[in-house]
Amino acid sequence: MDFIKGIFNAVADPRVYFLLMVLALVGLVWKRESIASNAFGYGALGVFTLFFALGGLDPNFRLIITKPDNVPIVGLIFLLVFFVWYSMKQAVVNDRRIAKGEGPEEAAESDRVWVWPDLVYTELISLIVCSIVLIVWSIVLKAPLEQPANRAVTPNPSKAPWYFLGLQEMLVYFDPWLAGVVLPGLIIVGLIAIPYIDTNKKGNGYYTFNERKVEITLFLFGFVVLWCSLIVLGTFLRGPNWNFFGPFEYWDLHKLEALTNVNLSEYFWVRALGQPLPTNYFLRELPGIVLVLLYVGALPVLLSKKLFKTYVDKLGAPRYYVTVFLFLMMMALPIKMLLRWIFNLKYIVGIPEIFFNI
């Protein structure tokens, strides 16, 4: 049993965990034809149920999943697994119908029905079911109340509310001005921009994957892999000092993790050129600044010439540049993660003198 727990603890390491999430997305998209069966979907839910049921026998795991405010996230995991699979299944079903020339299921159901009684009764039943769930949940689980607020005692770990834990996880890789202000701002702007930069006229009002491959894959990457899976990571796998702990691991306050992160400037000046760091911070960080400018400024232009040429033609220049900027900003997180994991890179540009660290 300890051996199996050990495997799960190892797999839950942020690096492996993130890689597995990306692989799961690739599998979902690539093998969508074979997962589009009820047996797979309900089987997956069964596997998760089994994992949580058996895992619940472990005291450390039980402690973290039964913490009252974490219960909704356990629910979120199940709901996400179900609905991601379900929407994919619906998409595959429709894609098969479209390939046969039958049109999506929703088109076959475009005739009108009376709102009374067909819709109002559905609403009434949903409302009653939702009320029952909420009342039972409220009776079974008391709302948490800890010790009175005390500014002299800092709990360890101090966690933000659960829906912001993806952002708090980003703080491992970025400074607060990026992880807490700029990137969340760009998420909001990016979400609002979606309908204005997506010029694909197909797939409006029905489930489909084949007609919107890139859009759906990118959205699933942002929503499931980056946003939701980092929330799960931040909730269940981050303990004291924001150190990583496996799901079956005891939250040891004294766990030590060596932080040997190095700035790009040191890699460039000290290790590559064998010189001391320049005293002028602009000169010191010039390699990083050039890299960032290339990433934000030159890369979109380069991509427009070769790899993304079709998109420039399809979207037109203004839409293309907005899209590619938002895309690169989204990819900045996994890129910084990889740089940290492979090179122990702390900052690409590190100017603590003016709080400007990237």
Partner: protein, 272 residues
């Protein structure tokens, strides 16, 4: 001899007879200005003459009433909002947003109300609403329902998502326990790193007149959020007012716009 036609009245249950009697009374007819909705005409009238039901169209695409298509997540978000408004209103009777009383009032709610579940319903309802809003957006994305002519309504929805998160965030502070102030401390610490507007944000040092810093701990973005340099009395009052009045009003207005636009943009989405 003429044959007599015999009419046989079907046996009606007492409940049906009572229902038939009730819907014919003057009081009932004064409230509902239409007959029982058992003919097409009355099914139209019931939707048109009732202010709560008139948010709906009279007829709707068949796919639009299927859980398979909608998952009912938007409707549940709205219902959870109503439920949160109601439970929140009850909680406001017993809660005073001051350092002296806030925590004790919550303890009082827990200890002195037999079988009380209002705080639980409010807290779990809030968590559930965050999840239903996310799943609603996910469904809208997966069905491509944000595409023209519904672009603007998607944008309104994104703002409502932000307001939902802010509502939950401001409510998190109110119990005034360790969980509350430290979660808000972690969350609001981000604001001091706001570029130019936070005292530890990039560029803030540039905003200075000679040696006088224009952006410092007592006037930056975080100060505006907390009404102080730390999570204290000012923050509690600010979050309380935003949580109970400001944000709900904002989201209610946007909900009106959102529902109105669902209708005006052609009802629930479906293949063109």
């Amino acid at each position: 001899m003429a044959t007599e036609t015999k009419t046989i009245r079907p046996q009606e249950s007492p409940a049906t007879r009572f229902w038939n009697w009730l819907t014919e009374t003057q009081v009932w007819k004064s409230v509902f200005r239409h007959e029982r909705p058992n003919t097409d005409r009355n099914r139209v009238l019931v939707m048109l003459s009732n202010i709560f039901l008139h948010l709906h169209p009279v007829r709707i695409r068949k796919s639009g009433v299927k859980l398979r298509y909608t998952w009912c997540m938007g409707g549940l978000s709205f219902f959870l909002f109503l439920s949160l408004t109601f439970t929140g209103l009850l909680l406001m009777f017993y809660y005073r947003p001051t350092l002296e009383y806030a925590y004790n009032d919550i303890v009082g709610l827990r200890e002195h109300v037999p079988l009380g579940i209002m705080r639980e319903m409010h807290r779990w309802g809030a968590h559930a609403m965050v999840i239903t809003v996310w799943l609603h957006m996910f469904r809208v994305f997966m069905t491509g329902s944000y595409k023209p002519p519904r672009e603007f309504n998607w944008s309104v929805g994104v703002i409502m998502l932000v307001l939902t998160l802010l509502l939950s965030f401001t409510g998190y502070l109110l119990p005034w326990d360790q969980l509350a102030i430290w979660a808000i401390t972690v969350g609001s610490n981000m604001a001091r790193a706001t570029p130019f507007l936070g005292h530890e944000g990039p560029g803030a040092a540039l905003l200075a007149l000679g040696d006088v810093k224009l952006i410092h701990a007592a006037d930056d973005a975080r100060f505006a959020l907390l009404g102080g340099t730390f999570v204290g009395e000012g923050a509690l009052l600010r979050f309380y007012v935003l949580h109970c009045v400001g944000l709900p009003l904002g989201i209610a207005v946007l909900m009106a716009v959102h529902f109105w636009r669902v209708r005006k943009d052609g009802g629930i989405s479906g293949p063109m």
